[in-house]
C-alpha cells in the first residue's frame, strides 16, 4: 500500500487511497467525502419524497374518481387494491430504492451519481449483489429508524428516549470515527463509497510546432525545475489564460536569466515545456526522477 502511494501525483491527501486491481495495477481512488455522501443521501431522500408525493397525487386523483363510481358500504375491492399498492410502494421506497440502483451498472443511487460517487468493494475484487444487499439492509437502522425517531419526537420521551437517542447516534455518527468514512453497512458488507469521475482525453502537448531551434535550453537551465513544476506549466498551457501565461513566463525567465520579447510568452512556454519534459523523461528512462525543484 505505501509503495503504491508513490503513484499519487502531488501531495497525497487524507482521502486518497490506492487500490490494487487483480492485474496488479495500482489505481488511485478518492474516498467520497462525508459531505458529499450526506448530500447524496439527502438528494435520494428528496427523490423518494417527491416520488411519494407524485404517487399520492396520482393515487388520490384516480382513487377519488373510483370512489364516486362505486358507492357501496362494503370495502370497495378497487379501493382496497389501491391501498395494497400504496403499502407495497411505501415498502419498496424504503427498502427497494437504494437496492435497485446500487445493483445497476453504475452501482450508485441517483443522488450518488449526481455527486460523482459510487459503491465499490473494499478489497479490490468484484462488488457482489450480496454486498449491496447487506449494506442496504443496515441502512434501515442508520437512516430510517433515526429519521422516524426524530420525526416522531422520540427524544422527548425521558430516560428511555435519551438512551435510544445515544444508541441511534452511534449508528448515525459511525462514519466520523473511521478514516474511510465507512458507515455500519459498509463495514458489514465490505464496501466503501469512492469518487467516480470520468476524464476526457486532452490534446497531446508536443503536437505544437517544434521550436527547439529558436529556443535552445542548456542543461543548467533545465535543471532548475522538476516534475511538479512541469505539470503546473502543463496546466497553465492547457488553460491558456494570457495573464497566467505572462506571469509564468516572467517567473521562468527570471529564474533562468533570460530576457523575453513581448508577445512571445506562449511560444517560449511551449518550447520550454517540450524541452523540460524531454529532459525529465530521458532522466526517467534511466531511473532518475526529480519530484520538484527542491529535490
Amino acid at each position: 500500500m505505501s509503495a503504491a502511494m508513490n503513484y499519487i501525483r502531488g501531495e497525497p491527501g487524507k482521502r486518497d487511497r490506492m487500490l490494487v486491481t487483480p492485474e496488479g495495477l495500482a489505481l488511485p481512488l478518492v474516498v467520497g467525502s462525508k459531505g458529499a455522501r450526506a448530500g447524496a443521501l439527502l438528494l435520494d431522500l428528496t427523490f423518494i419524497t417527491i416520488g411519494l408525493i407524485v404517487f399520492f397525487i396520482v393515487l388520490g386523483f384516480t382513487g377519488v374518481q373510483l370512489l364516486d363510481l362505486g358507492s357501496s358500504d362494503e370495502i370497495n375491492p378497487v379501493v382496497e387494491f389501491f391501498f395494497v399498492i400504496l403499502i407495497l410502494f411505501l415498502f419498496l421506497a424504503r427498502y427497494g430504492y437504494f437496492l435497485y440502483f446500487e445493483l445497476g451498472p453504475k452501482a450508485a443511487t441517483p443522488g450518488k451519481r449526481l455527486l460523482g460517487l459510487r459503491v465499490a468493494a473494499r478489497d479490490g475484487g468484484r462488488l457482489t449483489a450480496e454486498m449491496v444487499i447487506a449494506r442496504n439492509l443496515m441502512r434501515d437502522v442508520e437512516v430510517f429508524i433515526p429519521l422516524f425517531f426524530w420525526l416522531g419526537g422520540g427524544q422527548q420521551a425521558g430516560i428511555a428516549g435519551f438512551t435510544a437517542f445515544i444508541w441511534i447516534m452511534i449508528f448515525v455518527l459511525f462514519p466520523f470515527f473511521n478514516k474511510d468514512a465507512l458507515r455500519a453497512g459498509d463495514v458489514v458488507a465490505g464496501t466503501w463509497v469512492v469518487e467516480a469521475k470520468a476524464a476526457k482525453l486532452k490534446e497531446a502537448m508536443s503536437l505544437a510546432p517544434d521550436r527547439s531551434n529558436d529556443y535552445q535550453f542548456g542543461e543548467a537551465e533545465l535543471a532548475v525545475y522538476g516534475e511538479h513544476e512541469l505539470q503546473v506549466l502543463e496546466r497553465v498551457l492547457r488553460q491558456d489564460q494570457p495573464d497566467a501565461l505572462r506571469d509564468v513566463a516572467a517567473a521562468i525567465t527570471y529564474k533562468i536569466g533570460w530576457q523575453l520579447g513581448n508577445g512571445d510568452e506562449r511560444e517560449f512556454l511551449e518550447a520550454f515545456y517540450a524541452a523540460l519534459r524531454a529532459h525529465l523523461e530521458s532522466g526517467m528512462r534511466f531511473g532518475k526522477r526529480k519530484k520538484d525543484k527542491h529535490s
Binding site: 479490490g124 437502522v141 465490505g190 502537448m205 512541469l230
Partner: protein
C-alpha cells in the same frame, strides 16, 4: 470543437504521430485509438445499454482493458503528461468498475439464490440459529412463568392495543371469538400486505441491530417471545390451548421461522464482530455480512408468504386441525428446503 462531437461515434486515428516531438507523446498517440475504443464500451456499459456494443468490441473488451492498464503502467514510468495520466487512471478505474462490478442483475442473482445460495447460507449460520432458537424458547418460558405467577405481568408485557380483549380471566367466548373470523373475504389483501410490510420491517430491524454484538437483537427477541408465552398462558388457562396454538401455527411456523432466521443473521454479524477469529475484524465482518444478507433476503420472502397465509389462510380457515396441517406442512417445506437443497455448483468467486 466539431471533431470531438463527432468522436462519440467514430474514432479517428491521430493524423500525424511522427509530428510529435516527444517520445512519450508518440507512445500516447499510437495507443489512443484503443483507449477511446475502451472508453466507448465502458460508457455504453455505464449507461446500461450493452446492446450498443458491437460483437467485435465486446470480444475485445478484456484485451482492450489489459492494453489500457498496461499503457497506464508504462506511461507512469515514461511520461510526465499529467492530463494523459489522469485520463488513463480515470478510464482504467471506470473499466475496472465495469469488469469487476456487480455482474448479475437482480434476477440472475435471485435464480442462484433460490437454487441453493439461500439454503447454503442458512446452513452456514446453524450455530446462531441454535442460539436464537434457545433464546426464543427461553423467552416463551419466561413469559409463561411470569404470567402464571402473577397475571398482572401480562399487562406489563403486552401493549394494550395488541391485547384487545385477550386478557387473563377473560371469558372463554371472547377468547374463542378472537381466534375465529367474522366471515367474509373483504379487506384480506390489504391485511396481508400490511402484515408483510410491518413484519419485514421488524425483521430487518432485528437483523440490523445485531451489529451491536448481537445484544439488542437477543433482548428484543426475548421480549417478543415473552409476549407469546404470556398470551399462550392466557389461552391455556381458559382451556383453549389447542385452538390457540393452531391459530398461531398456521402462519407462525413461517413467520416465527423468518424472525428466527433474521435474528440469527443479526447475531451472526454481532458474534463475528466480537470474535473475528484469525482474520482482521473487517474481513471477518464482510464474510458474515454477505452471508447474513442472503439469509435476510430469504426472510423477506418468508414474510411475504407468512403475510399471505396470515391474511387469507387464517381468516378463511377456522378449523383448528386444518390450521395445524397447513402450519405443519409449511414447517416441513422450510426444513426440507434448508436441509436438502444443495448448491448445484460453486459460483465463480
Amino acid at each position: 470543437m466539431a471533431l470531438s462531437l463527432f468522436r462519440s461515434n467514430e474514432i479517428t486515428p491521430p493524423a500525424d504521430i511522427e509530428k510529435a516531438s516527444l517520445r512519450s507523446d508518440k507512445f500516447r498517440l499510437e495507443r489512443e485509438v484503443d483507449w477511446q475504443r475502451l472508453e466507448q464500451i465502458v460508457t455504453a456499459l455505464e449507461k446500461g445499454r450493452p446492446g450498443r456494443i458491437s460483437d467485435d468490441d465486446l470480444l475485445e473488451l478484456p484485451v482492450l482493458y489489459r492494453k489500457t492498464a498496461s499503457s497506464l503502467a508504462v506511461a507512469r514510468e515514461t511520461s510526465l503528461d499529467a492530463a494523459t495520466l489522469d485520463y488513463l487512471e480515470a478510464l482504467v478505474r471506470r473499466a475496472w468498475f465495469q469488469i469487476y462490478g456487480p455482474r448479475t442483475g437482480l434476477f440472475g442473482w435471485l435464480r442462484s439464490f433460490f437454487a441453493g445460495g439461500w439454503s447454503q447460507s442458512v446452513r452456514d449460520i446453524w450455530l446462531d440459529i441454535c442460539i436464537a432458537f434457545a433464546v426464543m424458547v427461553a423467552g416463551t418460558v419466561v413469559g409463561w412463568l411470569l404470567v402464571a405467577r402473577d397475571p398482572d405481568w401480562y399487562y406489563s408485557l403486552m401493549p394494550a392495543e395488541l391485547a384487545g380483549g385477550r386478557v387473563p380471566g377473560a371469558p372463554r367466548e371472547v377468547l374463542l371469538e378472537s381466534l375465529g373470523h367474522d366471515g367474509g373475504g373483504e379487506g384480506l389483501t390489504l391485511f396481508a400486505a400490511s402484515l408483510f410490510s410491518h413484519n419485514t420491517g421488524v425483521t430487518i430491524m432485528y437483523f440490523a441491530l445485531g451489529f451491536a454484538f448481537g445484544v439488542p437483537t437477543l433482548l428484543l427477541l426475548l421480549y417478543f417471545m415473552a409476549t407469546i408465552g404470556a398470551i399462550l398462558w392466557v389461552f391455556f388457562d381458559a382451556g383453549l390451548g389447542w385452538e390457540f396454538v393452531g391459530w398461531l401455527s398456521i402462519h407462525g411456523t413461517t413467520e416465527l421461522g423468518a424472525i428466527l432466521l433474521g435474528s440469527a443473521a443479526g447475531l451472526h454479524i454481532g458474534r463475528t464482530m466480537a470474535f473475528p477469529g484469525n482474520r482482521s475484524i473487517l474481513a471477518a465482518m464482510q464474510d458474515s455480512g454477505v452471508r447474513a444478507a442472503q439469509v435476510m433476503m430469504g426472510c423477506t420472502i418468508m414474510m411475504i408468504i407468512a403475510g399471505l397465509i396470515e391474511g387469507y389462510g387464517r381468516q378463511l380457515i377456522t378449523d383448528t386441525t386444518a390450521r395445524f396441517a397447513i402450519g405443519g406442512f409449511m414447517l416441513a417445506v422450510w426444513l426440507a428446503y434448508f436441509i436438502l437443497v444443495r448448491r448445484l455448483r460453486e459460483r465463480d468467486a
